[in-house]
């Protein structure tokens, strides 16, 4: 396909983002049916921000299935950072084109048939279907990397002159070589981001490490651990598991090197995410200023920002020991700087106007009690604030968070006082409903003991 045709696809996709959700999803479904044609990938890039919000079910394709074991390592081109064993999504179309050309056509057709017959919601069946693809594909990737290294023309034609792409291809190859093991392990562990692990989960991870090389060769499990740390809320848990791993003979040095490498990658990734969290997404190349931005509900946004801050703080806290092992002052300083950056982020984005947002939701409607939908948003808002207060100690913003909570509590008290002092408040079911609405917020912000104390006092006045 010619370049103008590719540009047309992108323009069409950008135009589609201005349409209603239903129409937009209809166009997405039609594009999906076109399969892997040049230009379609660019169209999907343009549509991705809105797709991320709408999350339509994705039809598995051979290429998607091929990359599935490594998908936790993928970054959009705009936020991709080198040397962190991540893979830019921008690399994938070329990688697949070259792999596809080296794969046996019969095998690929067999996988495509398998996809059609299998239940796409059953990851175990899909893993069985994809097993030959991962094995042959990993070999193909090795051959591609080899050729790129030895054939400058091939390298330049396909990847340009940037050696970093070869590192990405290497990461893909390592992960896909263990595709079956990784997909099987994913099914046995909680969904990402993985928080707590049960004993059975720890056993499953240790089982895989033992199966791949065990005490003699801890390095063999490196690709699995790489994917796993990307899925963990507290990746330090995996690093600790590695540090605690029993080793034999010469493998001590290997284990230490793996721990160091992986710690560097994990910490680097957390720092990278911290660095990009407050930045708006970079515009897609060629995007016109008229393209409708995907507007997110501010309360939903507040909740997800608080969740991001919590995830990163949790992640950084979990790697404290690993950072100490690295004995690298530069990294220690960067971690400290990242913490204060997250603190600043929470102060400006989550805490910023939270009291105004809450007051608008709770007390601006005409009636006495807050409408149910607004109340849900108000609860989500105070939950975000509460999340931030849990991080405050780690981030050094305790004073600011406490001040916000106190201000909101005062407003709740003021509004309740006003409501109860109004004539007829005693027998008014709406007043009683709003009393419980306010108590819900007090309970989230100040705990159940305080909520009970307020309830006893307010209830006494209303009965």
């Amino acid at each position: 396909m010619t370049d103008p045709a590719i540009a047309q696809w992108q323009t069409l996709a950008r135009d589609a983002t201005r349409l209603s959700d239903a129409k937009f999803l209809q166009i997405y479904a039609l594009l999906e049916q076109l399969g892997e044609k040049p230009g379609i990938a660019g169209a999907f890039d343009a549509m991705r921000p809105r797709l991320t919000q709408l999350r339509p079910p994705r039809r598995p394709t051979v290429s998607r299935l091929f990359f599935r074991p490594a998908e936790d390592l993928f970054d959009d081109p705009g936020v991709y950072t080198r040397r962190l064993q991540r893979v830019s999504r921008g690399t994938l179309p070329t990688a697949w084109k070259l792999v596809r050309a080296r794969l046996d056509g019969g095998m690929v057709d067999g996988v495509a048939q398998g996809i059609l017959k299998a239940d796409p919601r059953d990851p175990r069946v899909m893993a069985r279907v994809a097993a030959p693809l991962w094995e042959a594909g990993a070999q193909a990737l090795a051959a591609i990397a080899d050729e790129a290294e030895n054939n400058l023309r091939f390298m330049v034609d396909n990847f340009g002159r940037d050696d970093d792409v070869l590192r990405q291809i290497q990461t893909l190859r390592d992960v896909l070589l263990l595709g079956g093991v990784i997909e099987d392990l994913k099914q046995r562990l909680p969904e990402r981001p993985i928080g707590d692990l049960a004993e059975s989960h720890v056993e499953a991870i240790k089982g895989v490490m033992a199966q791949l090389g065990g005490a003699e060769s801890p390095q063999a499990a490196a690709p699995v651990l790489l994917v796993l740390t990307a899925r963990m809320l507290r990746p330090g848990v995996i690093l600790k598991m590695l540090t605690d791993m029993r080793v034999t003979g010469n493998s001590q040095a290997q284990r230490d090197a793996l721990t160091r490498d992986l710690s560097g990658v994990v910490v680097g990734n957390l720092l990278r995410q911290t660095g990009t969290m407050a930045k708006p997404p970079e515009p897609t190349p060629g995007a016109t200023s008229g393209a409708a931005p995907a507007v997110k509900d501010p309360v939903q946004q507040l909740g997800s920002l608080a969740a991001v801050a919590e995830r990163l703080t949790d992640g950084l806290t979990s790697v404290n020991d690993s950072v100490a092992i690295l004995r690298d002052k530069k990294i220690v300083d960067r971690v400290a700087a990242a913490r204060s950056e997250i603190g600043e982020f929470v102060l400006t984005t989550v805490l910023g106007d939270v009291e105004k947002t809450l007051a608008a939701l709770m007390y601006s409607a005409g009636g006495v009690s807050t409408p149910p939908d607004e109340m849900k948003k108000a609860e989500a808002t105070v939950l975000a604030l509460k999340r931030s207060s849990k991080l405050a100690g780690h981030l050094g913003i305790q004073r600011e968070v406490t001040a916000k909570i106190t201000e909101i509590r005062r407003e709740i008290d003021r509004q309740t006082e006003r409501m109860m002092a109004a004539p007829g408040a005693r027998g008014d079911p709406e007043v009683r409903r709003q009393m419980f609405n306010n108590l819900r917020l007090v309970e989230i912000l100040a705990g159940s003991d305080e909520a009970e104390r307020m309830y006893r006092e307010w209830n006494r006045r209303l009965t």
Binding site: E199, R440, E443
Partner: protein, 370 residues
């Protein structure tokens, strides 16, 4: 303060097993309540860490172990005011507290709707009862079945019809009305077999049957050791279903011979009350577990396995004295170990702090219960 009780010690009766209480504090969720000899409620909590054992605690001991939600504190106040503890009286208290909004807007709306449905279903049961009695006396119910009547007009006609029935049975009209009202109130939780709309306990039996089949299917396709937990929960459900079906059949037979209303009413009332109460006990705790299982129907396998551990922990075994199996019939120790291995410890378990997100997940489940 509290005493641990081994899983091997099985309660002999439903009363000893206690009534499941839909608390919203995650560690208290579905704790069972039973009165002590002094009449004060005590709570039976499955082991917090998923291991073997059961904690028996009075309410005052709980704050030392965990933070309890405001909803649960108000529910406890309401439970203390009950004169008699049964799954039905507890359910009324639960719905009343839930309707205040203390467990969130959705749960409140669901409770209000359920209370309204209960009232409507009781009226429907009474109406169906009158129609059936008229048919039994070979009287024409056409007038009562006419559409477009006001509530008071309908009540007047019902009363007139009961008056006629009473005359035939040599009973004063007031007595006849009282007997029909009493029976309708007693039977409404299950509903009459003649009524097309099912009562809530009859629906619960149907839902449990559906869930048992789903658990069995899941157990047959899950290749991990968790499938043993699914088999256990499905078997527990089957035991409850077998006894429930017997009870339902017995109750339906009684309801097909409604002439007893005008005869030995005391015997009929006692028998119906016994059947309905037993059905209440047999279904107690299951609606929450059914919703919990439904809530992960589209979730990944790991989430279903984790939920299965929770179902195992909370599955209401039929007490031996009520027709259930001896605990030794199950390998509870092995199953308990499996459950422990698959249980994820939340923050609240380690610290006793309240995880509001987990509380809200329970509230969302409450909003789907009726």
């Amino acid at each position: 303060m509290s005493q641990a009780k081994s899983l091997d010690i099985s309660p002999g009766t439903f009363g000893e097993r206690g009534i499941s209480i839909p608390f919203t504090t995650p560690m208290l969720s579905q704790a069972r309540m039973r009165p002590t000899r002094q009449g004060e409620p005590e709570f039976l909590l499955p082991s917090f860490n998923g291991g073997k054992g059961m904690y028996i605690m009075p309410w005052r001991s709980l704050p030392a172990v965990m933070t309890v939600t405001l909803h649960d504190r108000l529910l406890y106040d309401a439970l203390l005011e009950l004169k008699q503890y049964s799954p039905d009286t507890v359910r009324q208290a639960v719905l009343a507290v839930q309707a205040t909004g203390v467990a969130g807007g959705d749960a409140s709306l669901a409770a209000e709707k359920t209370l309204a449905l209960d009232a409507g279903y009781q009226a429907l049961t009474q109406f169906t009862l009158v129609i059936e009695l008229l048919k039994l006396a070979r009287m024409d119910p056409a007038e009562l079945l006419a559409t477009g009547m006001t509530g008071s007009e309908s009540q007047r006609l019902v009363r007139a019809a009961l008056g006629q029935l009473g005359q035939r049975a040599n009973l004063p009209v007031e007595e006849m009305v009282s007997r029909v009202e009493t029976l309708a109130t007693l039977i409404a939780p299950v509903g009459l077999p003649q009524c097309q709309q099912l009562g809530r306990l009859r629906m619960a039996v149907g839902e449990l049957e559906r869930t048992r089949a789903s658990l069995q299917r899941w157990g047959a396709t899950d290749f991990s050791e968790v499938s043993q937990l699914a088999d256990f929960v499905a078997e527990t459900a089957k035991a409850a279903l077998d006894i429930s079906r017997d009870r339902l059949a017995r109750l339906d037979n009684r309801c097909r011979d409604l002439g007893a209303i005008a005869g030995d009413f005391r015997a009929l009332r006692t028998a119906v009350a016994e059947d309905v109460t037993r059905l209440g006990w047999l279904m107690d705790g299951w609606p929450f577990l059914i919703r919990l299982w439904d809530s992960v129907s589209d979730s990944p396998l790991e989430a279903q396995q984790s939920t299965m551990g929770e179902l195992f922990r909370l599955a209401p075994l039929i007490p031996v004295g009520e027709g259930g199996k001896e605990p030794s019939a199950y390998d509870l120790e092995v199953l308990g170990k499996i459950q422990t291995r698959w249980l994820r410890m939340g923050e609240d378990w380690r610290t006793g702090a309240l995880d509001m997100a987990a509380v809200m997940r329970i509230e969302a489940l409450k909003a789907t219960l009726s």
